[in-house]
Amino acid sequence: MRRWGTGCPRRIPLDDWERERGLVVQLHQLTAALYLAAGLVAGLGLALPMRSLLRGAASLLGVGALVHGIAFSQLHRADPPVPLTDIPAAISFMAWIAVCFSLVLLYRARLMALSVLVAPIAFLSTFFAALRLPHAEPATTLGSGSWPHAHVLLAGSGLALLGVAGLAGTLFLLEHRRLKAKRPLSSRTPWPSLEALDRVNRVALALGFPLITLGVITGLFWDEAAHGAVFTGSAHEVWSLVAWAIYAVMAVVRFTSHQGARKAAASAVCGFLFLFFAVVGVELLV
């Protein structure tokens, strides 16, 4: 796998580049505002508690996802396109996939509380992207074919889904702890049931792990296309492979053994924290 944002530079006039991506940045700013509003409305909906506010938060999240999608289409229409391989663009893409997946889940009414975690994280991601995209380097992946984009699309989607699994796991652990301590919530609080959260965790892992596996494989092909070697020993490569191995064990344990829902939730939280550090944290640090 390659480090994002490195490769053969393509020479283009910088003025044109800045003008082209201006709209992408503005759309990201609008998306971030919508996600922030969704997070605040969802928080209010849980605190008051009012289901109508949670529905409103889901709608805001939906509008945000739509604008976010338009931002990505602009990102591709820019000439030259803003590279998805750039960290801000990749993080923004992960947030978009996570929001889209959450919106599918929100159709099940009692999962609406998920938006209280998804929306702020999506806001932070798009806000970060909006700040960093103006400084993004032009595409630097010439000569590697479609592998860089395939890698980011697959790995980013997998990371997003496993992120949602981690969020569902966090909510599960909170709810489990409360029920075990005999401190249940009131019936009006629109909090998802343990069973629903466990199902989200299971589905997200079932979809996210194959995607991240494909992301690892396409990353290896990218390395081979760019460097002529499948394994270059970069920090990103090593940490990502370790994270993938951890998830492989988690998936095997989850789907083949008698692992309880609480342990699965805890694994999803810890697993995602490690994966995020391995994929994004190491990239930023190194």
Partner: protein, 431 residues
Amino acid sequence: MKILLVGMNHRSAPVEVRERYARDDVAPVLQKLAASSEIDEAVLLSTCNRTEVVVVTRALEAARLRLQRFFRHDLAAADGGARENVADYLYEYRDGDAMGHLLRVTSSLDSMVVGEPQILGQAKAAYADAVECSAAGPVLSRLYQTAFATAKRVRTDTRIAERPVSIARVAVDLARQIFEDLDDKHAVLLGAGEMVEMALRSLRREGLASIAVANRSVANAEALAAELEASAHGLDEIGQLVGRADLVLTCVGGAEPVLTREALSTVLIARRDRPLFVIDLGVPSNVEAALEQHDNVFLYDIDDLGEIANENAAARHRETALGEAIVAEERQRLEGWFMALRAAPTIAHLRRRVDGIRAREVERALGRLGLDATQCEAVDALTRSIVNKILHAPMVSLRREAEREEGLAYLEAVRALFALDDSDDGSDPRR
């Protein structure tokens, strides 16, 4: 016109007294009451916790005596008459206090279990009965419509009905926090008992795929199973039943627990990650406390459920202050409307008097002037317009002032100034 409310409830009378005055079919007695000359309008509310009658009357004392007789003879008639002095158990509210009490009752602020939802339905049924018997008129209709709207406001603007206060409802609430849907869940009832059966029935209303009843005596299990449309089993099948179940309700007699961690260890492993909600209503406990250490087992005994129910009841009581504020606000508005009704006869009388004078004077003038039809109509319209414009401001003031207690002085002043009490033939009293 006065409003009078007389009744008994869980605070003023013991249950054995309340039972004697409670009626399922209120229509016959209500029709009889409404036919009384002292009563203009009446609504009778009869539940297991209260029997109250609210009436509109123009003869307050006579109505009071009639309602005393109503309780003593009409309501207690089925029991052969009152055995006790019913007056000892009755309370009485008039006008504003009666309105306030009615608003509190329908809003469930006066209920034994504050915030319980049944009372609103019962009040609606009582009002519908009164409408059907033609016993409810415009005053009580307005009063009840306001009461229903107030009850709705109290329920939505406060958290008075938010938390369940019965063991059965607490159990349902907990089940909904553990399971996404109860429609595909299997329940097992071990033993028998009123409370555990109530909890099971509440859960069933939310939807259960199946129920199994297990008892030491299979015959007893079969009897209960027939009632609950469940399957019957002996206690020796516990392991197998728990393995399939999502909810287990226990109320088995005996000192030793029937569900132990050791006995269920293989069953719990076989269940994989499926949660198991255990409601233990047995005293002493039917379930070994160690079972709770299992991640997927959520064990609540009667003390846990009772504690949650008590906390919820306390939370509801804390919300009553907000509910009372809403009731006070609505009561004030209702009292204003009721007092404004006093102005209606005076306003009508005044308009009739002034219009009579106008009509006579116009007729006299037109006879002298010899105008054609169009001109006569113009003069008539002109005088009407002048009268309307002159009367508009005083009438608005009268209506507004009548909503206050002090407004009575305005009404009296108008009656004296225009000599409305002297004659009622529309003629000018000075002539």
